[in-house]
């Protein structure tokens, strides 16, 4: 018997119209756990580096995490992996919601999709019965609308649906896959789904998911819940309210947005507005939020309430669900001062199925090009004067790929190069061809430098976490923080606690503090915790992301062991996460990723130290067992039981026989 996982994947070839239920190798669970880890293995094995992301040969994997479907609170993430049309690297956008547990109950760990359907279809997975069904009548329908229509058509109100909107159908490079209150939005994975002619996946499952050591597992789950209650009553002192609790940032419940609106950049990642958050703004935003938010909601089996049902009839938006920072991304990119605009455009954008991070930035970039005379009225006929109206205008052009929208649909990096005439200079907030959170700061932060540069998800929130983002202002607050900081890895307690205790004292200023060896350890810890979550399907909001989360390196090995029957300790879990992380890097190295790609935007910090940055990167690569080009060394790969990767990289001449890279 397989525990926690079902032991079966669904393999779908949309070109042939074939469906197979394939048993998986339990050895791969021992090596990679599941979720992202086993996805990376499938992509390594089956997608050669020359495959065009939008061609039938690319593979799109909807994976459950290893613990999805068990009672582990918050284990509900669907990990969608494919090669991104925008970054050209492997992308692994993830979403919460209800899809992954339902897929487990239907009897599958993953749905692996290749090929291209001759006409628009959707997939209906109902326990053992799996069908590819006609979706031509759903062409152009909104993502949420599609889910509702499919549930009605199937007569299955409990079916869970993930769907693309018009943007995905039209292969917009930042199209998302939407699933109720959640979306897998980064990297244009919705475009890959659209290129396969796949409008949606609907799932209903009523089978059992087993755990190996039931009593023990249940006891550990109860401890997690107790800690969640403890953290609800004990917010972290001395940090902004948005960072004090757990879950993803509680932006649906909390209206105080001083931290985001004054610390992050507005427009095309351009302007800081330090005095923005006045009493009047606060009052207007509070009213707006109270009108819009009908109920706070959660994902499957999670007591948090990170999402909200938004209904705002006065704005003419139909009901939808929202979470986290998407409330602000459009507002800030459009330099709009009112939150109502955010609530109205985000609803529309979700039906079209576009990423709430990239989309506003692409539009702000277009507005800047227009103001600079690089785009003209010929490119943007009838372009409105008002910025908010301009955003609605651009959204329509982009998702329909009309006129200049066809170019903008490729994202800032590609659009800048296609438009030319100096547009490249306006592309100042992408890494690895991917739009980043708009933050422009003063002094180089060496910890964040490493994370921005090397994060394979090219998204800071998916590598950072658990570590205070700024020093605590007083000794008392620092001492208070470290006194019950149980989440720190074994052997690092003294060093990490000392860091928090002394950070803020004279002599602990960036960029030459903390010492590079400590930077490496801090970054590696933060990233590793994310890679564990990405394989278990536990939400980062309860684990790798917030300060003092209920899941951490000490209880995760126990939970995974009790669920699966494998015997995994702290070191063993760390090793698996390192293997998965290295394999993702290897996939991308084979697709051309090198040191030159690992560059935060030039103006990300005003004060830069090129030589010192190079030194940090050298040491971090070394710490990770990578060579100067950021390529995993032969010995590293062999130690991680990835010999086949080493052999492939040597055969391709990417690594030399002696392990040196090119």
């Amino acid at each position: 018997m397989r525990y926690a996982e079902t032991g079966y994947n669904l393999e779908i070839d949309l070109s042939k119209g074939s469906i197979e239920r394939v048993p998986t190798d339990p050895k791969l669970t021992e090596l990679h756990l599941g979720g992202l880890g086993t996805n990376a293995r499938i992509i390594w094995d089956r997608v050669p580096p020359d495959v065009d992301p939008l061609s039938p040969d690319n593979i799109l994997i909807f994976s459950t995490g290893l613990l999805c479907g068990t009672p582990a609170p918050g284990a509900n993430r669907t990990i969608v992996s494919t090669i991104s049309p925008q970054t050209l690297f492997m992308h692994f956008s993830m979403m919460g919601g209800f899809l992954a547990p339902e897929l487990k109950y239907a009897g599958y760990d993953k749905v692996v999709i290749k090929g291209k359907s001759p006409s628009l279809v959707y997939l209906w997975i109902n326990n053992d019965k799996v069908e590819i069904r006609d979706a031509t009548h759903l062409h152009g329908k909104g993502a949420l609308e599609t889910a509702e229509l499919i549930r009605q058509e199937l007569g299955e109100p409990r079916a869970q649906v993930a769907a693309i909107g018009l943007a995905g159908e039209n292969s917009v490079y930042f199209a998302s896959i939407e699933h109720g209150r959640s979306s897998a939005s980064r990297g244009g994975i919705g475009a890959v789904m659209g290129s396969k002619g796949l409008k949606a996946i609907a799932v209903r499952g009523t089978k059992d998911v087993h755990v190996a050591k039931p009593e023990r597992f249940f006891e550990l789950c109860n401890e997690v819940l107790k800690y969640i209650e403890f953290r609800a009553k004990n917010p972290i002192k001395g940090v902004p309210p948005i960072l004090a609790g757990i879950g993803s940032p509680q932006e649906m419940a909390i209206h105080d947005e001083e931290w985001h609106t004054t610390s992050f950049a507005w427009g095309n990642a351009r302007h800081r507005r330090k005095g923005f958050w006045t009493k009047e703004v606060e009052e207007s935003w509070r009213r707006s939020q109270e009108r819009a938010v009908q109920r706070l909601v959660s994902c499957y089996n999670c007591p948090m309430k990170c999402g909200a049902i938004i209904s705002y009839p006065a704005l003419g938006v139909s009901r939808y669900m929202m979470k986290c920072y998407s409330k602000l991304t459009y507002v800030m990119a459009a330099m709009a001062d009112d939150l109502d605009f955010g609530f109205s455009i985000a609803g529309l954008a979700q039906e079209y199925g576009v990423d709430g991070y990239s989309t506003p930035q692409v539009m702000a970039f277009a507005v800047e090009l227009y103001e600079a005379g690089i785009l003209t009225d010929a490119d943007l006929p009838g372009f409105p004067k008002d910025n908010k109206e301009r955003f609605f205008y651009l959204l329509e052009k982009i998702v329909r790929r009309e006129g200049i929208g066809d170019v903008l649909a490729k994202g800032v990096y590609w659009a800048a190069r296609e438009i030319g005439k100096g547009a490249e200079a306006f592309d100042h907030n992408t890494i690895k061809r991917h739009e980043q959170i708009p933050i422009k700061l003063g002094m180089l932060n060496p910890i964040y430098f490493v994370m921005w540069a090397t994060g394979e998800k090219a998204n800071i929130t998916q590598i950072e976490g658990q570590l205070p983002q700024a020093p605590f202002p007083t000794k008392e607050l620092r001492e208070d923080f470290v006194k019950d900081w149980i989440q720190v890895p074994t052997g690092k307690e003294e060093r990490f606690k000392k860091f928090v205790l002394e950070w803020g004292d004279p002599g602990t200023e960036f960029p030459f503090y903390p010492p590079i060896d400590l930077i490496c350890e801090l970054v590696d810890w933060q990233e590793t915790m994310h890679y564990i979550d990405d394989s278990t399907g536990i939400c980062a909001g309860l684990s790798s992301f917030p300060l003092k989360p209920p899941y951490h390196i000490h209880n995760l090995p126990l939970i995974i062991s009790a669920a699966t029957g494998l015997e995994i300790d702290e070191d063993g879990l760390w090793e698996i996460a390192r293997r998965n992380r290295t394999l993702v890097r290897a996939v991308n190295v084979r697709r051309g990723l090198r040191r030159k790609d690992e560059k935060p935007p030039e103006d990300h910090w005003k004060k830069r130290f090129p030589e010192y940055e190079a030194k940090i990167l050298d040491e971090y690569y070394e710490y990770k067992g990578w060579n100067k080009e950021g390529i995993p060394k032969k010995e590293t790969l062999e130690r991680l039981e990835l010999d086949f990767v080493a052999q492939d990289l040597v055969r391709r001449g990417i690594l030399e026989g002696n392990g040196e890279g090119k």
Binding site: P157, H210, P214, F218, Y320
Partner: protein, 188 residues
């Protein structure tokens, strides 16, 4: 003769639908608790509570499994509360032929909430314990009631459902055959 009055603890779960965040932890933990071995498998399809969950209509309604019924109702009701239309049967607790709810997914045998009866007894049912948002709150009150008649047990309900499905003769034949086979295997 008048029946004797007797003190009885009435176990109640107060359901505050406004506090429900739709996470379905109640379904998860219910199915785990009632699994064999206990907590050994998980399947909300087997849960004795079900959250009617239609987020885009803002409908979040936990409903507990109640009595088994062999026949569906003649008429169906629809409720409209605060402008929200609840599907027919939404509030009904019955395990009933008209719908899939509150039946074992494989055998279709009826399920019924037993307030997590166990030995030693739990402080409160697990669905309540796992509802950190207090949409489900456990309450006990004492009532004077008539001497109650014996309540049918799970097994009795299950057999009754089998009789409804296959007919009395068929079920008793099967039982007799199983009894004979068991006796034979014991002898051997």
């Amino acid at each position: 003769m008048k029946p004797e009055k007797k003190k009885k603890i009435v176990k109640t779960i107060r359901i505050d639908v406004d506090k429900c965040n739709g996470c379905r932890a109640c379904e998860v933990v219910c199915s785990a608790f009632h699994a064999a071995p206990k907590y050994g498998n998980n399947n909300p399809g087997r849960a004795r509570i079900r959250v009617i969950h239609e987020p885009l209509k803002n409908i979040f309604l936990p409903v507990y499994a109640g009595e088994y019924t062999a026949a569906e109702c003649m008429g169906r009701d629809k409720y409209i509360i605060d402008g929200k239309e609840y599907d027919e049967c939404a509030f009904c607790r019955a395990s009933c032929p008209s719908r899939e709810a509150f039946k074992e997914p494989d055998s279709e045998l009826p399920l019924k909430c037993d307030m997590c009866e166990s030995d030693p007894p739990l402080e409160k049912p697990l669905c309540v314990q796992w509802c950190l948002n207090d949409a489900l709150v456990y309450e006990e009150r004492e009532e004077e009631v008539d001497e109650e008649e014996e309540k049918p047990e799970d097994a009795e309900l299950a057999v009754e459902a089998l009789i409804d499905k296959y007919g009395f003769d068929k079920v008793s034949d099967v039982l007799a055959r199983i009894a004979a086979a068991k006796a034979a295997s014991k002898k051997a």
